[in-house]
């Protein structure tokens, strides 16, 4: 009896050890590429770290950010980007997914592919294409609006339109993954619930609101959190299309981090900006988990 217990304990220990050995490479990568840079970023944010200096200045970087007009404008733009783009992405993705889901297999695959294409394409190439579409002198958008009799617009060079133009690109590159996820989730909703509602003469809108939407909550949570984080970290679009202009109207916190660190060499200040952004993302994600979290299982 004692020998059997000892043998079983041996197996448990061996399994336990094996699992840690398999986890070790991933953990190593995590330490080197995630934990260390993160901790070092926090550390650097307390220093005046430029090409020449490395002086401890405590919270000065953080304090200066709250007096920095450009940073505050960037934070405002970032939040605006999230507030406008994320709901549109969610609503548009659900709308498209519901319609795609109703289609026959061939059409469903075709449209899934069409909407997913921007998600797997390089952001840089898509952005360059959009740059040409928006070009003030020979962009196709001005060509089309010109056909309708409108004067050419400098879409990216006007403070009134630049952020909206960025948001439009952001939406096209962001909807691919949510659509795929929603189509998959719709397939997991038991058809008996919908059939029962139909027998009870529920309208399609009622079915969506009372059955589909609640059943999509786990997917909603994932999509909302991921889209929000990605939107907060939006950089390539800004860098390539507007460089934060005109007059900082499209500058975001991520672009500010790049500008301070790599263009001006203010690594301490850039780290502080990055940490503040991480804190904001953390707070908003926590709120989202609280309000969109659900225990739905199907």
């Amino acid at each position: 009896m004692e020998a059997a217990v000892s043998k079983s304990r041996k197996f448990v220990i061996r399994d336990w050890l094996m699992s840690y050995i398999f986890l070790l490479p991933a953990f190593g990568f995590f330490l080197v590429f995630v934990a260390y840079p993160m901790l070092r970023g926090i550390y650097i944010s307390f220093f005046d770290y430029s090409l020449r200096n490395f002086d401890f200045i405590g919270f000065d970087n953080y304090v200066s950010l709250f007096h920095n007009e450009t940073f505050l404008k960037s934070m405002r733009n970032t939040i605006l980007l999230v507030v406008i783009a994320v709901p549109i992405v969610i609503v548009f993705s659900i709308f498209v997914a519901v319609n795609i889901y109703k289609m026959k297999e061939f059409s469903r695959s075709f449209f899934r592919g069409v909407f997913y294409l921007p998600a797997v394409s390089s952001v840089v190439s898509i952005t360059v294409v959009w740059g040409w579409i928006y070009h003030p002198n020979y962009g196709i958008l001005n060509y089309l609006t010109g056909m309708l009799g409108f004067e050419p617009i400098s879409w990216l060079g006007d403070t009134r339109t630049a952020l909206l133009a960025i948001i439009a690109v952001l939406i096209t590159t962001s909807v691919g993954q949510p659509i795929i996820l929603y189509v998959a989730s719709l397939g997991n909703i038991p058809t008996s619930y919908i059939e029962a509602a139909e027998i009870d003469r529920a309208t399609p809108w009622q079915i969506f609101l009372k059955i589909v939407w609640p059943m999509l909550m786990p997917t909603n949570l994932y999509v909302i959190v991921i889209t929000t984080i990605n939107t907060f970290q939006c950089f390539a679009l800004i860098q390539l299309l507007t460089s934060g202009g005109p007059v900082y109207s499209t500058s975001t916190v991520m672009y500010g981090v790049y500008e301070q660190a790599f263009l001006l060499g203010h690594f301490g200040l850039a780290s502080a900006m990055g940490i503040l952004l991480a804190i904001v993302i953390g707070i908003i994600s926590t709120i989202q988990f609280k309000y969109f979290g659900s225990d739905v299982e199907y």
Binding site: Y36, R52, S154, Y248, G265
Partner: protein, 461 residues
Amino acid sequence: MRAMKKGLMTVVGVALVGSQLVACSNNANQSTPAATPDASKPAATQAAAKPAEITWWNFPNFQTLDGEVGKYEKQIIAAFNQKHPEIKVNLEMITFDGGPQKLNVAIASNTAPDVIYDAPGRIIDWGKKKLLAPLNDIVTSEVKNDIAPAFWKQSMVGDQIVMYPLNTGPFMMAVNKTVFEKIGALDLLPLSRPDRTWTVAEYEKALQAVKEKAPEIIPTGFFAKSTAGDQGTRAYLANMGVSRFLSEDNSKVAINTDNAGKALDWVVKATKDKISVAGAASLAAADVNDLFLQGKLAFTLNYSPVLKAQNVSNKKVQFEDVLLPFPTLDGSKPKLEPFLGGLAIFNNGNADKIAASKKFIDFVVNDPEWGKKNVIQTGGLSARTSVTGLYNDPEYKYADLARQFITDPPTIADGYAEIRTFWFPELQRALTGGATGKEALDAFAAKANEAITKAKAQVAK
């Protein structure tokens, strides 16, 4: 099992704390930018023929051979190795787009290259931050006297030479002469005048002629998307407003005059009147130059003999591009910022590498055969006054003549890297109707002057 778990967590904890300690120890090195045990001594003489391996990062300053980036540079290295086989030179080509960022990261992480060929805008900044090895010991008095004081001003920090000047050329405008020939308006360009100087009124007349007689061509361009090529916009407004960008001692902004404000207002009005390119606030210098190379723009603001040579293969249609000085409000002589290129050495704390780098630089600039060849390959003029007649081309002859208009550039001002980041948002503000020209220039002046004061205080530390 619990004990093992506890042990594992301890190991992880130690690893995390350890990584922080490593971070701290690295910083100790960073706070003193490269130890300099022997840097003050004449390094070229320290290691006579010691084998060394150095790294050279190069922007595409030389025209390519057979369209291959870096091929010419490899030929320089091969020729250098015939004389110095003991020195291995590793070449890395960087781009003007991402190179500066890459250099900032490399410097901050103590992995800067040994040799860099760049312009004073960045090199002087590194020099002021004491990141470069002085080159005084390899510049002979003959060379020193053969290079204009204005160029030395851009190559020195105090009494230390931090950049060995190689090539130069005045930054100018350019015109598509073929367009004016086609519309029969060649007489509107100042080409019959030996110095080609002209007034804003004459320039405007030429632009109107293009608008009326060649409606498919955009008369002129302006750009304000980012800092790249900002020299063009600076010189354009400064000349049209007969002012300077910074004061003569670089201690404050001088561009915010009434006339310069009016010049910026003129650019805004020209855009509305469709004699200047639409959407300038979202266009970069490269976009505007591309339009010029596609034959869609009659004038471009960012040109030089160097760019003219480099653009030969980039033209989408064939046309004759001719260099012109910026027009001035009253027809007075223009003030042109010089392009200056040269080589510098990062002080990475290794005397042997510094000595080897000095030999390499000396070869690139002064070798009897390769020195001139290298200047020609850049498409520029020699920084040495005595080296002339490198090209048999009327445009180069004019560029040589236009050297008389060269003024000292603001790139050597304290805090220049920061100053230029305030320039284009204010241009955008004027272009988008958020401010008048004067208001935008005043706002720029206020921010830039603060940056200069702050940078001066840091340099004085």
